[in-house]
Amino acid sequence: MIEIKDLHVGYYKDLDILRGVSLKAEEAKITTVLGANGVGKSTLLKAIYGFLKPRAGQILLQGQNITGTPPHRLIELGVSYIPQHSSVFPHLSVENNLRLGAWTFRRDKARIRRKLEENYQRFPMLRDRRNDDAGLLSGGMQRMVEVGRTLMTDPKLILVDEPTAGLAKMLSAEVYRMLTDLRDKEGLTIILVDQEIRQALKIADYVYVLELGRNRVDGPTEEFTDLKKVLWD
């Protein structure tokens, strides 16, 4: 599905955060990227999504080189991104938030209507509150809006950055269930960056561990049952 080869990227010249990261994510699988704070997990997602321009290396989406492609083009190619910090538009209605997910095909009214309806069936709670400002929703429901907005574009690959940061435990379980549903019911490929190692290992199929901008270990989740191995090996 997506393959990253020897990626070098950073925010400033001569200061790379990622110094040769390689990664492969299989179709309809959850691939999780773990590692301590500051090893470049979020940077990796931002680089894939075109927010950062890689200095070297390649990103291949189904064999096609997408290195440095801007976000609006990636959306058309079926890539989408759920950032770590809340990304709802707080003073727009839930429905307008969802609609904005369709920005790249805003002229296709029939498709927008269809995707909205799918979202309301997937998340009936959102239908009830579609006219409320998204900022008034609970943290968990805001995540629901973000996921729903992402699904407006029919993505094949979703990049998810710490989806449960700042959420209560019960809501976290809900969010992880949402992600597994996307994989199992809708066949989506997910790259999940997470600090909640236990939770991520529960739902992931394949694990990468980064250390200071480089790959450290990787393998199928079964090989990572021993948490200590992930953390300090």
Partner: protein, 297 residues
Amino acid sequence: MKYFLSLCTTGVIMGVIYALMALGLTLIFSILRVINFAHGEFYMLGGYASYFILSTFTGLHPLLAVPLAGLIAALIGLAFEIAFLRPMHQGRIERPDEYAILITFGLSFFLMNLALAVFGPYPHRPPSFFQGAVRLGFVNVSADRLTASILSLALLTLLLLIINKTWIGIALQAVSQNKDAAAVVGINPLRMNTLAFGLGVGLAATAGALLAPSFLIVPDVGAVPSIRSYVIIVLGGMGSIQGSILGGLLIGLVESLGAGYFPDPSRALNYKTAFGLVIFALVLLFRPRGFFGRKEV
């Protein structure tokens, strides 16, 4: 009572036009996070543009010069944004906050001196939209000001519709509320910046062209309207559209009532702007966020 009502009428008529100009400023601030210190000079530019158009094409109805003046200013604004503000938003400027202040101040001086060089220091006045005055209840209003006010009101309504009902308007709101999230859904923030700046200065110029027949145009004519606009948007809440409209009306009323009831009529008009500033000081003291101010996300 009659006197009071007539002052209110004049206040509302001016307030609507003030709101138009302030709306432009607040639009630019909410999208670009830049205070446009050249806003008053775009007001001035609108006045001169309409004067220039009408003295070149003498057969043209004066009203037609208004949208043209707005358009010319908007194009200048677009070009300025792309050349000087876009690099800042691309992260190519080292100290963006100071840069934004200096570059818009620079533009302000440039435009003022350009007007001085081209049109000279003497006041100009484009022809009236309509001659004479109209009787509204107990008050006579000059047809020019009434026209300006009605057109401003129509334009404000149109803008509210665009901002709340169209894709482009909702995208502008999205950028103003969460720039990163807007980029995530594929909205190009750089384009929205350019659009907002063009639209914002176009509104200032339109206000300038609408008021040009009522007040004379000189190169520094924009100074008072721009200060008034800053007051209005702080009053309404920085970045709030409803706030700038309400703030505009309030400042219009306060100026009109303040000048009308000032004990010494010979000096009342000179203090007009000061009454608005008194309200401004009170708001800063008691509600610094303004009427509709939002906490930063």
